[in-house]
């Protein structure tokens, strides 16, 4: 999995691409977010439109990131989650805590 970082209106946008399941980079997403928190950047949108595979390692890192951000008065929104990711969010009820938006701009507007 690759992580590309940009920023807009004070919100960090992490564009994730590739396989978010089996590699160390997926698990490393939480460390990446913790580093942002240490810099005081606690509003994050994760653009998941380019994720090709999604598994428990990536999901675990995503949920741990959400918790760490909430613990630091921050927030995490998901944008452009693929149909498969949305299915998992729905069946596990993750959708109740981690909101998905159709576009990155919508997610930014919601988190500001």
């Amino acid at each position: 999995m690759k992580i590309k970082e940009t920023e807009k209106d004070g919100v960090v946008i992490l564009t994730l691409s590739g396989k978010m399941m089996l590699d160390a980079k997926s698990a490393g997403l939480h460390d990446y977010v913790k580093n942002l928190i240490e810099q005081g950047r606690t509003k994050i949108v994760m653009d998941m439109g380019k994720i090709t595979w999604f598994g428990s390692t990536g999901l675990g890192a995503l949920l741990a990131s959400y918790t760490s951000l909430k613990d630091n008065d921050g927030d995490l929104k998901v944008a452009r989650a693929t149909r498969k990711i949305r299915s998992v969010f729905m069946f596990t009820q993750i959708i109740k805590v981690l909101e998905n938006y159709d576009t990155v701009d919508e997610a930014i507007a919601a988190i500001k």
């Binding site: 428990s56 675990g60 890192a61 741990a64 918790t67 149909r83 498969k84 299915s87």
Partner: protein, 144 residues
């Protein structure tokens, strides 16, 4: 939809074979599932199970690292995942819940809880010769 038993068997010898599993599971489920959501969660659950089975398998001569047998019967998709090696820890793992502390999953460990929450039953048994067998069942929603 017919209720005749159908079976599909796939052998995995490396992580690269997961792509074949994905395609095979999707094609198999398309015949029986009534929604893309059902296909998605079965695919994800079986990829998780097969990945773990390959990762922790001990190679045996003339045996694949992991064997996946898919069948459909009586409105359910049933998957049997087999490998050789250490015992799976399945029974002690809780079903995933949004009320759990998510930080416990920061470095992994979500695979079995996730499968348990997505599928209808997950049963583990230890067979002779250090063979592990995981039986995962998803009851399909009937067409209205």
């Amino acid at each position: 939809m017919d209720d005749n038993k159908t079976k599909l068997k796939i052998n995995l010898n490396s992580f690269d074979d997961l792509e074949n599993v994905r395609e095979a599971v999707i094609n198999f489920c398309r015949h029986y599932c009534n929604s893309n959501d059902e296909i998605d969660i079965i695919e994800m659950s079986l990829l998780e199970a097969c990945h773990n089975a390959v990762q922790y398998s001990v190679k045996r001569k003339n045996k694949p690292l992991c064997e996946l047998i898919l069948s459909y019967d009586n409105q359910s998709v049933k998957a049997i995942v087999r490998n050789y090696g250490k015992t799976f820890i399945v029974a002690e793992k809780e079903t995933f819940s949004i009320d759990q502390d998510f930080l416990q999953y920061k470095n992994g460990g979500l695979g079995i809880p996730l499968i348990k929450s997505l599928m209808d039953s997950v049963e583990y048994s230890r067979k002779s010769d250090n063979m592990n067998e995981l039986i995962i069942v998803k009851k399909l929603i009937k067409n209205q």
